[in-house]
């Protein structure tokens, strides 16, 4: 797409692109949602993990595309978020630059919010200044004369209260009017901040002018040397704008920039200090003319709440309690919901079975497709619940407090307080936990958190532990009967991942994801009532993102593993037996019980032989030499390979291999007894306490969960990290299982 010329585009077909920019905690997302309705698309900006949200709507018959830029404090790029903001505003992001910018400020904190606004005003694009959270400002006695502010800055100023949906119509009208004005205006660059020179003054202004002249003599077109671009190239050493301009203008411009920076340093106006000092001085003077505070700042409601919620002792305990509540709700509530989903799938697959004769298509539908769909939607309840809590905690302002309270604790892992909730959620399930890392603003912290999250003992590991402990760990008590041994082993297995995660995080921080820790500067916004609309939007968006982006890959993998477990092999006898059993069952289940049992036993044997002969089975046998040092035979090897889509699958697979039918669970006595009776060819039992321990350690540390890997792929926007996760966790799991078995064998 190319930039259309403003004079020839017809208003009816052209879609006006409007960028929303603002500090974090200005209610920008609320405003974005209120303006764009439900038609929001989310995605990633190319090459970075910054989330892109675009909403489409129509105002006054005009097509509008709203772009929600990440919350940012400045246009001087220090993070990928800010880089994206600058690239979108200047149109260096493969897309044309926006037709209009709405700059959103928190009306109660203009002193700070106008810093970004003064930078945005310098962009060569019409701007509307939106003073949001106006109701809260009025309530706390802050009055802003919007007309004077508009006159002083030379832009339209609109006051809104997005949560109450006040001022939205005025904002829309202002946008439509500004767009119309920009289109009819003969002037190609419709409006740039007329008073820009008043903000940056003295030697800085002189240098900017000098650089502009140089670019013009170098033959750079006017659009590419706007005062904004020149200013940013001077003030952000090694920033993206400097790169852009030096690419176009060559080394002469680079040396001119260095010369200008030297001149400024000599004049006592060092970069970056000079920009902040001059802008804040301007804002202070401006606000003294347009803003009044009726009362001296007194103790606000937020202060009073904070004196409890961020108290060193009570605050910490409350924080732990809140986060434990979130975790346990997900853990306990998602269980019945997931069971409901499984029940639904069982029903779906029995509907298919009832209406079709046994055959490859039925097998694909019931064991491949329905199971694949199931493995996707079984995560949805947990994802929705977690994002419901995250939405509530973020929207009311508590999330930042939790990060504040937990920062020191997470510092032990080389992470910041923001990693606490994602990691804790991963104890229920790593999939929502990894998605929750979006609350972490630092890229390296976020990646380390994503990489260690799958080590937390999720609920899918529990069935494996329960089966192994129930079958092989003696029901003994330690410490004179006080501590049941089985509980001790269960606890040890559940904490193993966390213990291993500590060195893993520290090593990642020093190797692959090294770098100075980013400054921890966290704004603690005023508390407010969370908005149901915003919270539900967030739940909806994360659920959709999971289903669309990760779900398809999870589904595909499930079907592939089904195929690998079914082919090659002749299924004729299997289908025959199934058909016979079903017809006997339909006839009269009770009188045919003996016959059904006999046929079922043969069917289970068939299933077992087919699995052994399949690609999956052959792969399991092929890896026996590798898993033998762990104390495993090929049957356990098949179980491990088959459980790649999800850890808990290992139990059903073992059930099949041991000819018990695929529908056994961890409490099944038949499976326990069969495992105990399994022997090597020489007659020695396969399973012993060290083997059971080695299997548990393996499953505690391995990455046998395709959903987790696919979510890592989606959240990191690259295949590199899921592959890395799989490799490092499998190596850890192998070494852990090897040591467990070899050491355990000595006793």
């Amino acid at each position: 797409m190319t930039v259309p010329s403003p004079s020839i585009r017809p208003a009816t077909t052209h879609t006006a692109r409007i960028a929303l920019i603002g500090n974090p905690n200005t209610g920008k997302s609320t405003l974005f949602n209120a303006l764009s309705g439900l038609r929001v698309r989310t995605g990633n900006y190319p090459g970075v993990t910054v989330e892109k949200r675009v909403g489409r709507t129509q105002w006054a018959g005009r097509n509008i595309e709203l772009i929600d830029l990440p919350g940012t404090y400045s246009l001087s790029p220090k993070s990928p978020d800010e880089m994206v903001a600058v690239q979108v505003l200047t149109g260096c992001c493969d897309e044309p630059k926006p037709d209009l910018i709405i700059c959103i400020c928190n009306a109660s904190a203009l002193d700070r919010n106008l810093y970004l606004a003064t930078q945005v005003l310098e962009v060569d694009c019409p701007v509307i200044l939106c003073l949001n959270m106006w109701d809260a400002a009025v309530h706390s006695g802050i009055k802003v004369d919007t007309e004077s502010l508009s006159r002083e800055l030379g832009v339209r100023v609109v006051a809104t209260s997005a949560t109450r949906r006040e001022g939205l119509e005025q904002l829309k009208a202002a946008v439509v009017e500004s767009l119309a004005k920009a289109e009819t205006s003969e002037n190609k660059s419709p409006q740039s901040f007329p008073n820009a020179s008043r903000i940056l003054n003295g030697p800085v202004a002189v240098e900017i002018e000098r650089l502009e002249e140089l670019l013009s003599t170098l033959g750079i077109p006017a659009a590419k040397r706007s005062p904004f671009l020149v200013t940013r190239s001077l003030l952000d050493p090694e920033g993206s704008v400097e790169c852009l301009l030096t690419n176009d203008a060559g080394p002469q411009y680079r040396s001119a920039l260095e010369e200008s920076r030297r001149v400024l340093a000599a004049a006592g106006d060092e970069i970056p200090g000079v920009e902040a000092t001059q802008r804040y001085r301007f804002i202070k003077q401006l606000l003294s003319r347009v803003q009044t505070r009726s009362t001296a700042p007194s103790v606000t409601l937020t202060d009073r709440i904070d004196s409890v919620l961020t108290h060193r002792v009570f605050g910490f305990l409350i924080c732990l309690a809140v986060l434990m509540f979130v975790f346990s709700t997900i853990y306990w509530f998602s269980q019945p919901i997931s069971e409901g989903v499984e029940g639904l799938l069982g029903w779906a697959s029995s509907q298919v079975s009832d209406s079709m004769a046994p055959g490859p298509l039925r097998s694909l539908l019931t064991e491949g497709i329905v199971a694949g769909v199931g493995s996707v939607i079984v995560f949805l309840p947990q994802i929705c619940l977690l994002f419901l809590f995250i939405g509530l905690l973020e929207d009311c302002g508590y999330m930042a407090r939790a990060a504040f309270m937990m920062d020191r604790l997470m510092g032990l892992l080389g992470l910041s307080g923001r990693s606490f909730l994602p990691l804790m959620s991963s104890f229920a399930c790593a999939v929502p936990g990894i998605m929750a890392t979006r609350v972490i603003d630092d890229r390296r912290d976020r990646f380390v958190t994503i990489l260690i999250a799958p080590l937390m003992s999720c609920s899918a590991r529990l069935p494996v532990y329960v089966l192994m402990i129930g079958a092989f760990i003696p029901d003994a008590n330690l410490l004179g009967g006080l501590l049941p041994l089985r509980a001790v082993v269960l606890f040890a297995m559940s904490t193993l991942g966390l213990v291993v995660a500590v060195p893993v995080a520290l090593i990642l921080r020093k190797t692959l994801l090294r770098g100075e820790p980013s400054p921890f500067l966290l704004e603690l916004p005023d508390y407010r009532m969370p908005s149901a609309r915003i919270v539900l939007m967030r739940v909806w968006e994360s659920g959709m993102a999971f289903v669309v982006r990760a779900g398809t890959l999870i589904f595909a993998t499930s079907v592939i593993v089904w195929a690998a477990g079914s082919f090659p092999g002749s299924h004729v006898r299997q289908y025959e037996l199934t058909a016979k059993i079903e017809s006997l069952q339909a006839e009269d289940e009770e009188s045919n019980a003996a016959a059904i049992e006999e046929l079922s036993a043969e069917l289970n044997l068939q299933n077992s032989q087919l699995l052994q002969g399949s690609i999956l089975g052959q792969a399991g046998k092929a890896i026996e030499p590798f898993v033998k040092p762990l104390g495993w035979d090929w049957r356990i090897g098949i179980g491990v390979i088959a459980s790649f889509p999800a850890r808990e699958v290992v139990i059903a697979t073992m059930g099949t291999i041991y000819s018990l039918g695929g529908d056994v669970d961890e409490e099944n006595d038949g499976l326990r007894d069969t495992l105990r009776a399994a022997t090597w060819p020489d007659g020695t039992p396969v399973f012993s306490v060290p083997v059971a321990m080695s299997i548990m350690v393996f499953f505690a540390l391995c990455a046998q969960c395709v959903s987790t890997l696919m979510v890592i792929r989606r959240e990191t926007n690259s295949w590199r990290w899921p592959v890395f996760s799989f490799v490092y966790m499998t190596v850890l799991a192998y070494v852990g299982a090897f040591l467990t078995y070899q050491i355990g064998r000595m006793f």
Binding site: Y73, S74, S76, K78, S108, A109, D111, R112, Y115, K143, V144, D145, E147, S148, P272, G273, E275, A276, T277, Y280, R281, K284, Q285, S288, R289, V290, Q291, T292, P297, T302, D303, D306, S307, T310, H311, R312, V313, G315, F316, A400, F404, M405, D407, R408, L409, G411, G417, E516, S518, P519, F520, L521, L522, E523, L524, P525, D526
Partner: protein
């Protein structure tokens, strides 16, 4: 004049920022967030276990670790006057709404 660092102040204290030092990434981020010379800061409270400290500046609550707070030089609230460009109170434009 005594040169204090923001990290040295105890909760409840107020001070005026005099200078920012430290790595340029941190220093410029601090300044963008409003920690520029001449601005008043109030210490609100500290997180447990020597964690971050919560400050109030520009009517906004900001928390940072001790390492960042050590980059900010401050002076005690007294004896400070506004920079040369200050506007006298009489010129205050009262909003006519």
């Amino acid at each position: 004049m005594n040169t204090l660092r923001l990290a040295d102040l105890t909760p409840g204290a107020s001070a005026i920022v005099t200078a920012i030092s430290g790595a340029s990434r941190i220093a410029s981020r601090l300044m963008e967030m409003g920690f520029v010379p001449g601005v008043a800061v109030q210490v609100l409270r500290r997180a447990p276990f020597g964690g971050p400290i919560q400050y109030r500046i520009h009517n906004v609550s900001i928390s940072m670790r001790i390492a960042e707070a050590a980059c900010i030089s401050v002076t005690n609230d007294s004896g400070w006057s506004e920079p040369a460009a200050a506007t006298p109170a009489s010129e205050l434009h009262v909003a006519a709404t």
